[in-house]
Every structure is written in C-alpha cells, then in structure tokens.
Symmetry: C2
Subunit: 423 residues, 2 copies
C-alpha cells in the first residue's frame, strides 16, 4: 500500500459535521494501510466572506495583503480537520503551504508552483502521522511572501504534492460523483465517466467542464499522476483520469468522452479589416498586450469587391470591456471600421480521442445540431475536439441533442447535484 494524496473542496468541509465526516474517510484510508496526505480548501463560504471584508476596507485590495487574508481560510479548515482526526484516535499534523514546501513565483493572487520540497511532510508521514496541507497557497521563492494559486489552486496543490511525493494516486473529493458525459444539470441522462485520458480531460476542461481545471490536469499529465475524482458524500468509485485505461474499462473506451458547454464567453467581431498581411497580427498583439486570453478565432473570406474582411474571436465576458477599450485605442493604427460585441453566445464542444479515426463524427455533430434547429455561428476544431458557437439560448437544447446523437445517454435518468470546484 502506497502513498495517497486526497483533496477535499470547500463544500466537503463546509461545517463541523462535514469536517467530521471527512476525518472518518481519511482515517479509513489510513487504516487500509496507506500513507495519507490531505489537501484541504477553505470551509464553504469562508473565502467569499473574506473577499467581502476586503472590499469593505479597500476598493482594490492589493496582491500581497489579499493573499495573506485569503490564506487564513485554509488555516482554519486544516487545523479543524487535524483536530477531528486526532479525536478519532489517529495522529495528524497540519501544514501551511509554506511549511509543506510549496514554492511559487511572486505573482500574487495567481502564483504558479515552481518547486515542491515536502521535507516536513515526509517526516510527518514517516512518524506515522496523517499530514494535512493547506491548499491554494504557497510561499514565494525570492521574497518569502505568502502567495495564492488562483482558481483551482487546491487541486493543483494536491497534484503537485502527489508528484513530489511520488503518490500512487491523487484523489480529488468533491460534491459530485465524478466527471460526466455532460453537465447533469442540463442533460438528465448524462453518465458518469469511469475512465478518461488526460488529453480528453484537458479538452473538456478547456471547453467548459468545471469538475477539474485545465491547469491541474496539465500538471498531472506532465508527472503522470493518476487522478481519481469522486464524491466525499458517497463511497462510490468516481472518474479516473490517467494515461492508461484502467482494468476492464479498456473495452469501454468510447469514441466520444463527453459534451461540454460554456456560456461564460463573449464574441468580438472586428469589422472591415483591410485584407493584407499583418492585420490579424496587429489585432491580436493589441489583445495580448492587454493580458487577455482569447479562445476561438475565425476570419471570414474577404469580399473581393472591397478588399475588407471581418475577424471574430471569443474571450471571457469578464474581459470584454478591457478588450474593446484596447482595440478602440488602436483603431486608427490597425485601420478597421468598427467593433461588434456580443455576449449572448454559447459554446458546445464534443470531445473524444476516437474522433481522430472516425471521419463521420463532424458530420454527425452538425446534423444533430441542425435537427435540433440550432444555428452555428463559429466553428473551431482540434484533433480530438469540435466546438461551435451558437446563441446562448440554444445551448442547453444543443447539448442534449448532441449527447443523444452520440449514444451517451444513460439507461436511467439520474438526478445528480452538480456544483463547482471552488478553489
């Protein structure tokens, strides 16, 4: 029996009862002969409450102090969890990100892990302890300041520790049963996926699936750490994310892993761009300089008569204002006619490594959307993903139609509570 890293999100430790329930589960793993390292998020709404306080004292809380503030949340949950475990008769020690050796760069509020030196964790484990580690936080290499890892940070902490400690598996406990073939709030017949490859999981994550964040899956793939996403409220097997299909699940490997959707993006169309070299570069350099990440990019065929073309791209709605402002400033330099902003769009993505060798997939996808009366506005593809942009109002219907068309519906409709991952 080897070493297991378990990560519990805020909803799993929302109150004293939750903490006691999680403590029991951790002790089970220990009793089964594992060395256990636990990464824990802040309790329930703690982080939101701290952010609210910060906004009351300062309209734009500063990076370093904001991180100092937010990291109090995990300090509370990890200490309580260690106490609850001790109360069950087992030894546990809690460690801050800094004490656990999570070394980051100095970019406050969204630091990146650059090294993990878990010497104190090893010692604690060797002495028979269960080690509880604060998720979401680290210490900067140069200034020794407290940093936070940004969204999905606790999952990343867990995977990074699993890699540094050469763990057998990184178990991500959450409030859903695993990764589903579609969002069960939208598709009642969505099925839990038993196994999915890192690649497909990466595509799902970047297409709107919220169970695991892209960053955490990317880290796990790099170090080849199997992730097991499962519910902290049940004893059920969840979804394994790994390189190699597990056990008898090889036979199940489907052409399509799932359907993801995303309504958090907006579309900007740059109208009347001179159709000559360097124009697209000028537009996207402007966007990049504003530190905005874009998603899909489409350029229409130029109308021969005018020599002008349109370029559309999608980006997070939250960045919309900033992008428009940045482009308007460069309007003369770039030489376009106007900008159109549309935040009533949705994106539907079909993900599956099997589509590489199944030429009919794209056609079936478009047929399913057409039969459901859904109009396609943009198309973008990768080797293992097809994404389309539609009206936001059409998204749910489109997801259900595609899910059914690719035979993903489960026999029995299940009602599943589905939540976000927090941090």
């Amino acid at each position: 029996m080897g070493l297991v890293v378990q990560k519990y999100g805020g909803s799993s430790v929302a109150d004293a009862e939750g903490i006691k329930r999680v403590a029991k589960r951790i002790v089970e793993a220990k009793k089964n002969g594992h060395q256990v390292v636990v990464v824990v998020s802040a309790m329930g709404d703690t982080t939101d409450e701290l952010i609210d306080l910060a906004e009351q004292v300062s309209p734009m809380p500063a990076g370093r102090e904001f991180d100092m503030l937010l990291t109090a949340g995990e300090r509370i949950s990890m200490a309580l969890l260690a106490m609850a475990i001790k109360n069950l008769g087992h030894e546990a020690q809690s460690f801050t990100g800094s004490q656990a050796g999570v070394i980051t760069d100095s970019v406050h509020n969204k630091a990146r892990i650059i090294d993990v030196t878990p010497g104190r964790i090893r010692t604690a484990l060797d002495e028979g302890n269960i080690a509880i580690v604060a998720g979401f936080q680290g210490v900067s290499q140069d200034k020794k300041d407290i940093t936070t890892l940004g969204r999905g940070g606790s999952d990343t902490t867990a995977v990074a520790l699993a890699a540094a400690l050469d763990a057998e598996v990184c178990e991500i406990y959450t409030d859903v049963d695993g990764v589903f073939t579609a969002d069960p709030r939208v598709v009642k017949k969505a099925r839990k996926i038993d196994w999915i490859s890192f690649e497909d999981m990466l595509e799902l994550a970047s297409s709107g699936s919220k169970v695991l964040l892209h960053r955490c899956v990317e880290y796990a793939r790099r170090y080849n750490i199997p992730i097991h996403v499962r519910s902290s409220f049940s004893g059920l097997q969840g979804t394994w994310v790994s390189n190699e299909p597990r056990g008898d699940r090889t036979v199940e490997q489907a052409i399509i892993s799932g359907v993801a959707h995303d309504t958090s993006e907006a579309k900007i169309t740059v109208v009347g761009v001179p159709d000559k070299p360097g124009e697209a570069a000028a537009i996207f350099r402007t966007i990049a300089d504003a530190e905005i990440n874009i998603d899909m990019v489409v350029q229409n065929v130029s109308a021969a008569a005018t020599g002008l073309t349109d370029i559309s791209f999608t980006l997070p709605k939250t960045e919309g204002r900033k992008a428009i402002d940045a482009l308007e400033k460069q309007k003369a330099a770039i030489g376009f006619e106007s900008l159109r902003y549309d935040d009533q769009i949705g994106k539907i993505s079909l993900v599956g490594a099997g589509m590489k060798t199944n030429p009919g997939v794209t056609a079936s996808f478009f047929e399913a959307l057409s039969n459901a009366g859904v109009n396609i506005e943009l198309i973008s593809t990768s080797e293992i993903r097809i994404s389309v942009v539609t009206r936001a109002d059409d998204v749910n219907e489109a997801v259900r139609a595609v899910h059914t068309a690719f035979g993903l519906d489960s026999e029995s409709a299940e009602a599943v509570v589905y939540g976000g991952t927090g941090r």
Copy 2:
C-alpha cells in the same frame, strides 16, 4: 521622531469601520514623522468563533492544531488593516509572528517569547512601509511550529517588538481611556491615571486590574519600554507606564495609585493540620505538582489545646476542582482533617509606592472598610500593596469606600465604558 509600536485590540478592529478608523490613526502617526510598527489582534469575536468550531469537532482540541487554528484570526485582521492603509495612499506590509521574527518556546497555547529577530520588519520600515504584525503568535525555535502566546499575548508581542526595535514608546490602544484609579464600572468617580510606575502597574495587574496584563508590564519593565495605554476611539492622552515620571506629572505622584479588585478567586481552607514543620510544605508541594498557581496564603495561630492549625489560600476559581482533588488524594499522607472550599470571596487591593513611607496607610485602609461595614477575612501585604479578602457581595461597596477614603474620587463623575483586553 523615532519608532513607535502601536497595538490595537480586537474591539478596536471589530469590523470594517473599525479597521478604517484604526488605519487613519496609524497614517497620522506616520505623517507625524514616525516609523510605525502596528501589532493587531483578531477582529472582535473571531477567536471565540474559532474556539467554538474547534469544540464542535473535538472535545479537547490539541495544542499544535489549536494554535494553527487561532492564528488565522490575526492573519485576517492584519491583512485587512494593511489594505485599508494602502487605500489611504500609504505603503503597508503585514507579517505573521513567524515572519516578524517572534521566536518562542514550544509550549502550545501559552508559549513564551525567547527571542525577537525583526529583520524583515526593519527592512520594511527602511523601505518606507508601515509594518503590520500579527499579535499573539510566534514560531517555535526547535520545531518551527506556529505557537500562540496565551492571554494578553498581543500586548506582549507589541512590547517585545518595541524592545527589539528600540522603540520610543509602545502604545496600547484599547476601548478604555487608560488605567483608572479603580474599575469605573464599580466606582463612578474613578480617575484616569496620567502616569504610573512599572512597579505599581505590576501590583495593580496582579490584583485584578485588567487593562494591562502582568506579563506585558514585566517585559516592558525589564527592557525599560514606556507603555502608553490609550483609547482607539478618542485622541486623548491615556496612561503612561514607565520608570520615570513624565513631565509635570512628577508633582502629581500620589501616595496611592489605585484600588483594584478581583472576584475571580476562591479560598480553600485546610482544616486541622498538625502544627509541626513540613506540613505547609507538603500542602503547597501538592498544589504545585498539580501546576496550580496560588495567590494569598494565611496560617492561623495554632490552638494550643489540640496542636492543630488551619491553613487558607486563594487561587483562581477555575483551578478549584483540581486543587481539591489533588489535596484529597494526599489527605492521609499530609494528615489534615478536612477541606473547606469557598468561591464567594472577593479581594480588594490598595496599591501605591507611597505607602512605604506613609505608616498611616494600613490603618486608614482598615478604617475605611470598617466604616463601610465590610468584614475582613484574610490580609496580605507587600511593600507597595495591601490586599484583603472579603465576602464577594461586599466587594463593590468596599472598593468605593476605600477609593473615597484615599482621596482618589474625581471632581466630576464620569460614565466610562470599560472592557477587557482580549488577547
């Protein structure tokens, strides 16, 4: 203009408004040309809420994890305070006890400071920052674990930093205007003391005055750091505690500094103790082995006929059960007849260095009590203090009578809100 250490208690930073008010005051000190180090406690009831959570998950929270939990409180208040200061256009950085170099022993929940190495604080100050430091917490020298300093810990942090940084003054901001000649909740005519010596302040603190704790004053005396206790809600001068009387206050130096009272103690009488050498030692060794601190000790004159005597002592009510149990176990070995436990007592103490050279003080003290109809049960004296034990019901009346008899009443009766120091 030199370096000033300011300490703000939990009631001063109880909410966002309080934090903003405190931030303004800090910025004032900075604008006046001082280098400013601020020690801050947890916000209002935060600590109690954390303790409540701990008790929900574990009936006896463990030392190390309990400290990890509680220190989250200061992390929140100090980060918010730094943000609020930045919002006023000044630079501020917050530091945990560990980052500030507060090195302690490993006794969790009541660690003692053994060294202060404020290198990071110095650097922050030299760079023009206001340094905000978490009170009440440190890091253990041997294990590098987070520790807390126990009751009055934030005041002690402030004085220790003031000593290590060679500060001009340590300002303790609280919710009262300073140290009073008696508890203003009991004596409406109590006066604020402008200056008091370390020695008198130590006696007041150990006699029930709660504005400053003994430990903090002792530390300040050892390093000769003047303390200025004052209100965070007003701009008034408070009480200076120092070696040398300040300015024109020398002429004011009174015979008596103040009257303290304490109703938190109980009295144990060991009845029928053989009047021979070693008996008292056996009793107090038993108490010491149980790690109980006692206060007053009185032995009656032996009744010649029986050769038996009674020994009485006072101790915190919270330790009463433990002391009785410890003595009962040793009953046969010590050879006493019975134990009497009385928790309906109160202690009144008169404190003042002047009484050394004023022989009438003791007589006047007893006369005042007698005139008020208060019966004296135990008496204990030091060079600058007289304490008596009375019925708890008589304490308030006794304090008022003594306060008046020694001419401490102010001309005008003031209504003052009087609170504890928290931590």
